[in-house]
Symmetry: D2
Subunit: 321 residues, 4 copies
């Protein structure tokens, strides 16, 4: 299986499951503030979608004894692409077999990345029109724009923590067909962070080093907004609603993302990012590598990265702060 073939096999990040020890408060955050809509519920979970989601859901929120991340699902670009990727994953010894899909999702192949984050791969999705009260005024839109206080458009990316970044990035590149676009290389030569994409977006998934050496943890998940103004407005909304703002708004040097980071009530870090998509159209883009010296300059406009950004991950690791 050539790299050329793998490259287009994953269409996009489809959904992610988030664990929360404060289910009701977390649900309030995502539905009342961000404007996600509850489309289904089962057991300890609710399934949420944004107004631009064509699929059944993009966020599964699950009551749990800790914060953290559950399964991440990638949709393939065709049925054949699904078969090709399953074969590659199995060849890499990381396959875990088929399962019934989550609501609205067809048959699903399960696997884990080298760091142990559980993942799904699927092609079939159910496409059903929203109920009348959520029907959009314009027919080229998934559903009605909610006008929530801090409305988000779309689940944008997931930033995993991993004990070893490079191993996971290589897995994404070689087995899943992702392309690294930017990375941080320490003076030791070790890659401490890598941004990879499956689309024309400049990144869809990120791995950064877990300073605790733990496995399977989350740095943050990110939602794209329509405008930077939406992020400035969101900052006011979070201030008024007692949501902890960790850092931002500001602009990252890496990927040039305009960002705001908050902790949802369950403790998971959530990013609001814009532009909706910074495109990389170049099919042979050379990975951009940042040195420690370059990173020490801070973010694009000079703000120093705050300490918790390097230390806070979910779930918490006992014995670390």
């Amino acid at each position: 299986m050539s790299t050329d073939d793998a490259r287009f096999d994953i269409a996009h990040l489809g959904y992610v499951e988030l664990f929360t020890p404060t289910f009701d408060e977390s649900k309030w955050f995502f539905t009342e503030l961000l404007g996600l809509r509850e489309v289904a519920a089962d057991g300890d979970s609710v399934y949420l979608r944004s107004w631009d989601d064509y699929q059944h859901h993009s966020l599964k929120l699950t009551a749990h004894d800790t914060s953290g991340i559950g399964r991440l699902g990638y949709r393939t670009s065709s049925a054949a692409a699904l078969e090709r990727r399953v074969a590659a994953i199995e060849a890499a010894g990381r396959g875990l077999g088929w399962r019934d899909g989550d609501p609205g999702i067809g048959k699903t192949y399960t696997f884990a990345d080298p760091d142990g984050h559980p993942m799904d791969l699927y092609w079939e999705v159910e496409k059903t029109a929203p109920p009348a009260e959520f029907a959009p005024a314009l027919k080229n839109q998934a559903e009605r724009y909610p006008g929530a206080p801090a409305t988000v458009r779309r689940l944008d990316h997931v930033n995993f923590l991993a004990a070893d970044v490079e191993t996971n990035g290589t897995f994404v590149r070689d087995v899943l067909g992702g392309r690294p676009t930017e990375q941080i290389r320490l003076n030791t030569g070790k890659i401490a962070g890598q941004w990879l994409t499956f689309t024309n977006k400049s990144y869809d998934v990120v791995y950064t080093e877990d300073w605790t050496g733990s496995n399977g943890r989350l740095h943050h998940i990110a939602f794209a907004t329509d405008t930077r103004e939406d992020i400035l407005r969101a900052a006011d909304v979070f201030l008024e609603n007692g949501v902890h703002i960790e850092t931002g708004p500001h602009k990252h040097a890496i990927q040039q993302t305009f960002f705001l980071y908050v902790y949802e009530p369950g403790g998971n870090r959530i990013e609001f990012c814009n532009p909706g998509a910074r495109l990389i159209l170049d099919p042979d883009w050379d990975v951009i590598e940042w040195t420690e010296a370059e990173r020490s300059k801070g973010q694009a406009w000079g703000m120093k990265t705050i300490e918790t950004f390097h230390t806070h991950g979910t779930p918490p690791v006992p014995g670390t702060h």
Copy 2:
């Protein structure tokens, strides 16, 4: 009483009363979409305030058999200023005497402009902190930012229709101490529209000619938003909610206001305007006069003014379209 003295006697536009034949729908529009908060109710009226209102209310919404405008209230800049303006109004033969103020407003002097629009003048206001659930995170803010779908910051201005513009503008200037900043003069020499201010804002009240020759009618009331992006977002919100968008977003040539006009469910035209304030700091600003030829060029970026903008006023005049 010199003009110099009069000039600073009115501090700002305080409140306006709007009539609506569809009370529940109009209330939904102002509270659910624009984020005004109901602070009191009596009889057929509710009193509403925006998050930046330091007074008790800025909009009184009253169930009525037609649309249209009720009383407009101006707050003076001091108790002495109130006395001076009352004396001037009485000298001009337009005074109607004192009445108890509306909720939260002290003793109120009533009068009417030459076109017959009923008006109030007052100095005393009640300043009470909002209930805890509406308390702002920052203490220099009247109350909590609501994050409504089409949040407005402040009642900005009122645009009256009048059978004769110049008479009313002269009354505002000479008796109330307003300053005209821009006007439209027809080829006949008649003034067809005049914009006047009491503040550093470039206008607070506007008179435009009522083509039906009627008295006491309304062209529109306007709310200021924080940003132009708020107006673009509001346009999407109105589209999704079936609120009739009459024209915009675009930029007026006159006053350079970025605007959006909609009809609230009761039929009154509502403008959303930005910047929050275009300042005129010059204390001897020369009135800008626009000719018919200049007006025929359309709005700032070339959009032609649509027909209903010249014909729709409230309440409707029987026998006209």
Copy 3:
């Protein structure tokens, strides 16, 4: 050659050539107002690039006796993809053979769409760092952000006029691997406009019906801005600089693009569009079809489409207005 294979073979729209009868004024428009940089010149042409262009250029501006569009270049996603598309074009009988590429572009295969618009296909590109004075502060950026009055980020799409839309759309889909995302179908059943994409952007190329029945003409080319605010600012800049604003800013119902249309000094219609990219991530997106009745409602926020938008194309057709 399966459709599945074709789908990813064209990476993106690479460059376009524009003809102008007023070369100096057109060059002023693109360089001084939009901030494109002249990177090369030969004969009657200059080659221009935007600050986000990784390639040598994206606009070739050529002095000509009329306005209109010259060659459009598509970059393929690999060398193998170029071979596959050349074979498909030749099989479709539309191939015209190889030529030396334009400056910075490798060997180039030439062909024409069914309407006769000349096109190029290429894989190889020269990637050279910008001169020091145009070096960006952030290394993940093609070159320095120019801060021009109406700065654009990227050539976004081309909208061709064609005597017969469907034939051309089918060619783009079946031979080039594009996907239609939206289209207008008249009551007669005829397709009057079709939007197609090669990327995750919701469209890269558009065909709309030429009411004159002519071939090879242009409706407009479009540049993406970073923000809607950039478009509002651009409108002021065009007003101040005497550039004819045809319509906008407003939001299209089709594709939901926030737009501004002007005529560059040579007469070609130029669109400024935002968001930088409205993404379609769904790999099996169903084409959205708009009826005549739906189109008659005007743009997203209700503005009626102005007449010249249906009649102005370049070059002008003698005997039509």
Copy 4:
């Protein structure tokens, strides 16, 4: 002279003189980046205006052996107001006598605030139309919008450093007729910062404590932009042009100003602020007082104030860092 009378006597902040040891670079900053236009020059000074300035100039830039602030000019609201304020200043023992005004400014009364900052008071101004090449497209605008990389609309406020804040604030209030709107009170009871206004803007002049105990120094001067997006764009422009960004963009808790601070090449701190005007319409606004505990929370969205913001003033004080 009653406070009531004094309150409206100063119309607005008119101009400020800035000293720079790097004249050419500072001039480049203000003209090429911010879009100010040079309208006159004499000796070691140039006179600059923004596109929204109705007066001759608002910034006088003067070559000097150090950075720092020269004269600040306030325009009165009438000739009588000028006489009243001169009498009050003389009664307070701070008057320094009349001088010929700067270019475009009529006869000028000179004085100093208690901290020794030199100031001017004037009523007469020359109003002349800009040269044709700078004529605006819309007649209600001072001159053509320049579309500069980091265009500013207007000189907004001046923030002085003073050895003793309260004395200076009291002088502004009692003698000049300003109104304090917000202040910082230390646990010791001392006022460490005070914001005062002469207009409907929430502040025009600020005094903050000079930690070095020096007199006559500057914390920053501020320019208002049309939008927050203008400030985000300006940050990119300063990054590309090697202008030192000290802090921001962020939102102040005090006054809720969205800000960006840079050092112009001469070393003076320059703020870019928005909204163009946060209005205080309430004529009897109660001053908002911030405690040390409240200040320790950082800015509105939680960013900690950086150290240099407390220590950097101009000119530098020998022996302090």
